[in-house]
Amino acid sequence: MEVKTGTWTEKKGLAQMLKGGVIMDVVTPEHAKIAEDAGACAVMALERVPADIRANGGVARMSDPDLILKIMDAVSIPVMAKCRIGHFVEAQILEAIGVDYIDESEVLTPADEEHHILKHNFKVPFVCGCRNIGEALRRIGEGAAMIRTKGEAGTGDVVEAVRHARAVMGSIRQLQTMGDEELMAFAKNNGAPYELVKETKELGRMPVVNFAAGGVATPADAALMMQLGVDGVFVGSGIFKSGDPAKRAAAIVKAVTHYQDASILAEVSKNLGEAMVGRNVSQMPEADKIAGRGW
């Protein structure tokens, strides 16, 4: 009997199992338990949530493998961890300790300002951020088996997440109306691999699972992203920087499942306590924005 591991079907497939779910940033095993108990479909293990990475400044790197392993021990759901853009050795380390998914993330300080990791070289699947269809398809071309729109992490302001999701969904709708002879120009203008442009047109959706990330802080934010057409939601600082993380986490999980049911959304939005304070992206200096990291 031939047994194959690390195949494209396997890599894409785990992301398909996460659809309709919420992936939560956690910094301790206790947080991870709270997230699992609230119904998270996976957790992102890291030392600091993006809001704290912003506040602390300095170089943000892969988290301590010991912390990641403790979080993996604490929960039964998949555990993701972040490496720096282009830092393939951090990725090798994360693969060696057995994380279920690697996020090659702009939230950490990039290690390479021209190249991303060649993700096809790994057995573990990768998720990468994007702001538009071209960036998404370039990452898939390198082997990303899941995409997330970037938003602006650690702000609690959903405006960039909306901008990026609308850009991606708008381009997919545009592709639907195009003739096949127009696809090469589309590929050129968007910096996207031609074969993946063709595949996206044929499928009428992104060729891999596409979540939203970066600024989701409330159940309404999560449902907004779902109604815009993403497959699920990452919530970073929005949960553990709020007044009642367990309650807010459970409410966001329910909002993603029942994203089309406004009466349920009203119910789960009640009495959640303080949302994260947040930071208005339109008043942020350009140098503070991290979504531009990625090439």
Partner: protein
Amino acid sequence: MKIGVLALQGDFAEHIAMLRKLNVEASEVRLPEHLNGLDGLIIPGGESTTIGKLAVAYNLMEPLKQFGQRHAIWGTCAGAIFLSKDVSRDQPLLGLMDIKVKRNAFGRQIDSFETDLDIPELKLATGSTLPYHAVFIRAPIIESVSGDAKILASVPDGRIVAAQQGHLLATSFHPELTGDTRFHEYFLSLAD
């Protein structure tokens, strides 16, 4: 015939696409009233803890148990866990099938695998002699079957990966991630 797919979390859209490929009417189930008028139900892959918590929160546990008394239900991966009686940890289960399940039994994601299975019942039901290509993702195994439950498929080392109990079906793997509709056809024959 109309088949529902539990759409609390997971790859329910993939199951719906398979059903539509077979020209079967399919709908999403998120609340108890969505079960009305269905001839069968698929519980998809996903995270069993998430699906269980949402089923409890939206009062689906009793309606699903009652539905399973009369109608066909098929659980893939997380769905198989949810159908089981025992998973050796505290999480909501429907307990409809006399199977004991172990979660993530093959390891973490890097151990997830694809392989061909020999499934005699499937060959018999569909008349096809081709092996069945199965996709396992952080998959559970069925540690044991009891009562009326019977083994449908095992991997070569003997670990059970599919079981059936009357009109109830459990698979550790994901037929919805392949282009092969034979398992869906087999399930539809139980729902008919």
